[in-house]
């Protein structure tokens, strides 16, 4: 054994993401103020809050796209506060973006292959044609079959409809086989029919993947998550099981008469 008491090692392994006293300031503007949060493995956690509450900033800090002002970020028991975005991705973090962030002039298959080969040695293969790696394309097609987009496989992503692009956005993150998935408003800007496609896709995932989800659409949130965190002016104002938070008076007030 490595000398750690078994119980302690287990507890550390059980926590997927841990934020301790995270603050972020842009100049004199405080966007996040002393945010602490723990997400356990297998949990599906939703983060809601009005515009400007700091949700996206929180994601960018967790993913390593933004440096934080104070506090620590731990991923799977390791302190990753000073790690680059790509190092965090290699450690098992995947994210989607609020505004679709794909590779528009590459085909759908090529987009997915980039996600699939990200941790494989073949990404350094310089003088071998890609056709030698047919298996990768097959893997990508399998993923596309799951969401019924296999007939668009060889089209450029820019030729796809917005709803299809949002699906690829999530598929790309899932193709990374992450341990923690951050979803930044997966249904942003989608018509209800398309939004429910995306929701179905998330609900259908039974792999026990840990997810953190930012969402404006309460329907999506209530469908997918089992725990809810409410951010307001950069602070956590409520955190708990879905039903409990839903009835919280403070939360009702923030959403001003809007019934949750």
């Amino acid at each position: 054994m490595n000398g750690l008491p078994a119980a302690q090692a287990d507890a550390a392994g059980d926590i997927c993401l841990s934020l301790r006293a995270v603050s972020k300031r842009f100049g004199s503007l405080s966007v996040l103020d002393d945010v602490s949060l723990e997400v356990r493995a297998g949990e599906r956690c939703g983060i809601i809050g009005p515009n400007g509450a700091g949700k996206s900033t929180l994601f960018n800090i967790v993913a390593g796209d933004l440096p934080l002002t104070r506090g620590t970020v731990s991923l799977l028991g390791r302190d990753v506060t000073r790690w680059s975005a790509h190092a965090r991705a290699r450690a098992g973090l995947a994210r989607t973006f609020q505004t679709t962030t794909l590779f528009p002039r590459l085909t759908v298959v090529e987009n997915l292959v980039l996600a699939l080969q990200a941790h494989s040695g073949e990404r350094f293969a310089l003088l071998v044609p890609r056709s030698r790696y047919r298996a990768r394309d097959g893997e990508a097609r399998e993923l596309l079959e799951r969401v019924g987009l296999v007939d668009r496989a060889n089209e450029e992503v820019s030729a796809l409809g917005y709803g299809e692009q949002r699906q690829i956005e999530i598929l790309l993150a899932m193709a990374q086989k992450p341990k923690l998935l951050l979803l930044d408003e997966p249904t942003a800007g989608l018509a209800p029919a398309d939004a429910s496609l995306v929701t179905e896709m998330l609900k259908r995932d039974r792999s026990g993947l840990t997810m953190v989800l930012i969402e404006h659409d309460m329907g999506v949130v209530f469908d997918v998550v089992d725990r809810l965190v409410v951010l307001h002016h950069g602070r956590v104002v409520a955190d708990g099981l879905l039903e409990a938070v839903r009835g919280d008076a403070k939360v009702q007030e923030i959403y001003l008469g809007g019934t949750l």
Partner: protein
Amino acid sequence: MRLRRRWTIAVTVGLVVALLLPRLGLPTFFVSLLTQTWIIAIAAMSLDLLIGFVGLVNFSQAALFGVGAYTVAIAATRFHVTGFVPGVVLGVLAAIVTAALFGLVALRAEGPGFIIITIALNEIVWGLAYQWVSVSGGDNGLTGITRPMVGPFDVSGNAGFYYVCLIAFAVSFGLLMTIVRSPFGLVLKGVRETPRRMRALGYNVWFYRYASLMISAAFAGLAGVLFAWYNQFVGPDVLSLDRSTQFLIVTILGGIGTLYGQLFGALVVVFLSNELSAVTQRWMLVLGVVYFVVVMYAPGGLVVLVPRLWERLRGRRVAVVPAQPLLGGDE
């Protein structure tokens, strides 16, 4: 499949014509211009790898080209190293090392910042060549470079050296085409398209940009080595900012992100600048107009414009190809 066959036919015909040209009684002057075309095309392809596949607009390509040229010139005139293989190896290595140093500085920025830094780096190397007289010969440059033997072949004549450059072009083209079609090449395209997503997928974007700079430098250095032998003289103008601009014009004129377009770009620029400069002192102006017209009406370059004109002559309409953004980088 049909496309592939067309490609094979085009490449074969092109190669046969290129091989026969010096044997068909073509005047020496034209053989010499074509030799220059192969060399400039290699340099432009090296730049196209960066612009068209990685999204890095590098204005220090002439410095890499020039370091290759100066290395082979200094080796020959000061150290009597005159072999073909040592010349190529030294020149290419020197260019790669230069790019490795450049990358450390230039890749701290993206987009316009990267361009400005590479301009400055090119000027520094030019300043060294111009003022470090004891090594570079300063403004007088280095003379007395002779074309080496290639194995048993004497290639000091125009036709002989033409073949050396043709083969170097063909090999470079083949290697670069293989690279951009490899899994590594797909990564480069991903970096060109959306660096932010590449980071989120776990790719070290900096590393791939850095590596591509060095790969590109190898080909730019090779072109520089050939140019030193072709010209048999190396002066500061081989690595001037003007030359970087020339490479950029050839690359864009031919068609960014194609690699084969650069051959046509080089052909047009080399022949026009030589033919026009014999007719008028204002040949730069004419070249400028040609460049302007191509960029305005066919942002995809000559490889898009020529087929389109051809189709129009035959009375067909073809869809307009949208311009490719020149500046990659983060949003």
